[in-house]
């Protein structure tokens, strides 16, 4: 992730990801688009957040996902999390699974 990412640039990336996950023409997805216009339901929303988490190496809490009602909510929320991650400079949030080597899967026996 570039050191100084402009908000506009971030917004553009988020809009592009929304379009990609929803298989839409990027021109259709603007910051003012409503989920209704884009035909995005709650499961689509969860799928988009998954893509955004991967793209920006962030974790979006369940509670915040429930409150997302529009593209703008999504953009604002992601920018906030990306900036929070940048604030902890040199210490980016980990999203890679933390697993210890071992012969046994972490599962019920």
């Amino acid at each position: 992730m570039p050191e100084l990412m402009q908000t506009d640039e971030l917004t553009a990336r988020i809009l592009r990801i929304i379009a990609e996950t929803q298989r839409k023409d990027p021109a259709q997805v603007t910051i003012d688009s409503s989920f209704e216009e884009l035909g995005i339901d709650s499961m689509d929303g969860v799928n988009i957040v998954f893509a955004l988490e991967n793209e920006f190496n962030i974790n979006v809490p369940d509670e915040e996902v429930k409150n997302i009602r529009s593209v703008r909510d999504m953009v604002d929320g992601v920018i906030k999390l990306v900036e929070a991650a940048k604030a902890t400079a040199g210490n980016p949030p980990e999203t890679a699974p933390k697993t210890e080597p071992g012969d046994t899967a972490p599962a019920a026996s």
Binding site: M43, V46, D62, A105, P106, A107, A108, S109
Partner: protein
């Protein structure tokens, strides 16, 4: 067509390792959910699950048998043994030949499959255990029950996500009612806890980080559970002829498909399954006194289910006693329909309806009587057990006290 009765019930669940513990748990409104202990889940957004506590396979199986049968199929056998013991059935050659086995499971031998994938993908091992396939298959429970009792009649497994075992019981009911089999062993089992599947549930964002509060305004999701319930069902004539005491009658069965959305439920689809069950049982909506709801505790399910009950019952909806026992035994996926059917039968026959525990606050969108927190004494003749699965596949059983 023949009347069909239940003559034996077996249960193993987070709410109790056998039928009597389960019955007592329902009557006390006890919570069988706690921190998941069998899996390291410190990096998950939730910790709670309804595990079968203190389960030692070797209490139930020889060490060799235990190695050959996945946890979910072991649960199926444990529950089937208890149901058969209660029914008092003696397996004659003819009965073994004619009896049916219909089980439900959504994810099959999850812990076995997970171990195999872990070995090859994570550990880079060149081979997985040779029993991985037969332990993982969703019909392993039905096969293990068949071997246990030497039953050689029709046997199969139905997989319709959270409706699996309701569909299984409904199918077995139709087979006995039609005269195809005199006796059937039917129900469902599930042992869904593996790290991989918990991550998958986490990704759906429908699991509560705290507790399961069905129909409560502050509900925030479901809690997964494991276990099994099996029923011995038989034609009324067959039960009476052998001197058995029927526990309850399966009066009818209704099914429908939403044709709507892969995860979002449809009130109309659910209401249709309820109407079909009432029609099949030949009863009026006003005759239903209790409903064991699907009641997952997710925001969407509980509102949609409430709406469905308004659609199906009209004015009578307000007079129904409804509860979701998932707050006690968790959402056991493919076992849910059977465990909840057992809960409904125990409620009907014992005269105490199980409550919806952890109920904090009424939700204007869930405006019915959910038996909040306290078990309720009630004299009810007919009950429904409802299952509304992901994929929009609905199954509703109509039950009658005898």
């Amino acid at each position: 067509m023949r009347r069909v009765v239940v003559t034996g019930i077996g249960v193993i669940s987070g709410l109790g390792r056998n039928r009597e513990e389960f019955r007592a748990g329902l009557r006390e409104g006890r919570c069988g959910i706690g921190p998941i202990t069998n899996i390291e889940c410190s990096d998950l957004r939730f910790r709670g699950g309804a595990e079968v506590r203190c389960y030692n396979p070797c209490d139930h199986f020889s060490p060799k048998e235990a190695d050959m049968i996945d946890r979910f199929a072991q649960f199926a056998v444990v529950a089937a043994r208890e149901a058969v013991a209660q029914s008092g059935i003696e397996w004659t050659a003819e009965l073994r030949e004619n009896s049916a086995i219909v089980t439900g499971s959504c994810v099959g031998g999850q812990s076995t499959e997970n171990q195999g994938f872990w070995d090859v993908y994570k550990m880079g091992k060149p081979r997985v255990h040779p029993m991985t396939i037969p332990k993982t298959m969703a019909n392993a429970g039905a096969s293990a029950i068949s071997q246990e009792f030497g039953i050689t009649g029709p046997a199969f497994t139905i997989s319709t996500a959270c409706s699996s075992s309701a569909h299984a019981i409904g199918q077995a009911f139709m087979m006995v009612r039609s005269g195809m089999s005199d006796v059937a062993l039917t129900g469902g089992s599930e042992a869904p806890f593996s790290y991989g599947i918990l991550k998958a549930w986490e990704a759906m964002r429908v699991v509560s980080p705290t507790v399961c509060r069905p129909f409560s305004k502050d509900r925030n999701g479901m809690i997964l559970g494991e276990g099994a319930a099996m029923l011995v069902i038989e034609s009324l004539d067959h039960a009476l002829a052998r001197g058995a005491k029927p526990l309850a009658e399966i009066a009818g069965f209704g099914m429908s498909s939403d044709a709507h959305h892969i995860t979002q439920p449809s009130a109309e689809g659910a209401a249709k399954a309820v109407r079909m069950a009432l029609k099949d049982a030949g009863i009026a909506p006003e005759q239903i006194g209790y409903i064991n709801a699907h009641g997952t505790g997710t925001t969407v399910n509980d509102v949609t289910e409430t709406c469905a009950l308004h659609l199906a019952f009209g004015d009578h909806a307000k007079r129904l006693a409804i509860s979701s026992t998932k707050a006690m035994h968790g959402h056991t996926l493919g076992a849910a329909g059977a465990i909840e059917c057992a809960a409904a039968i125990l409620g009907l026959t014992g005269g105490v309806l199980p409550p919806t525990i952890h109920f904090n606050e009424a939700d204007p969108e869930c405006d019915l009587d959910y038996i909040p927190n306290c078990p309720r004494r009630a004299d009810v003749e007919y009950a429904l057990s409802s299952s509304f699965a992901f994929g929009g596949l609905n199954a509703v059983l109509a039950l009658r006290r005898l």
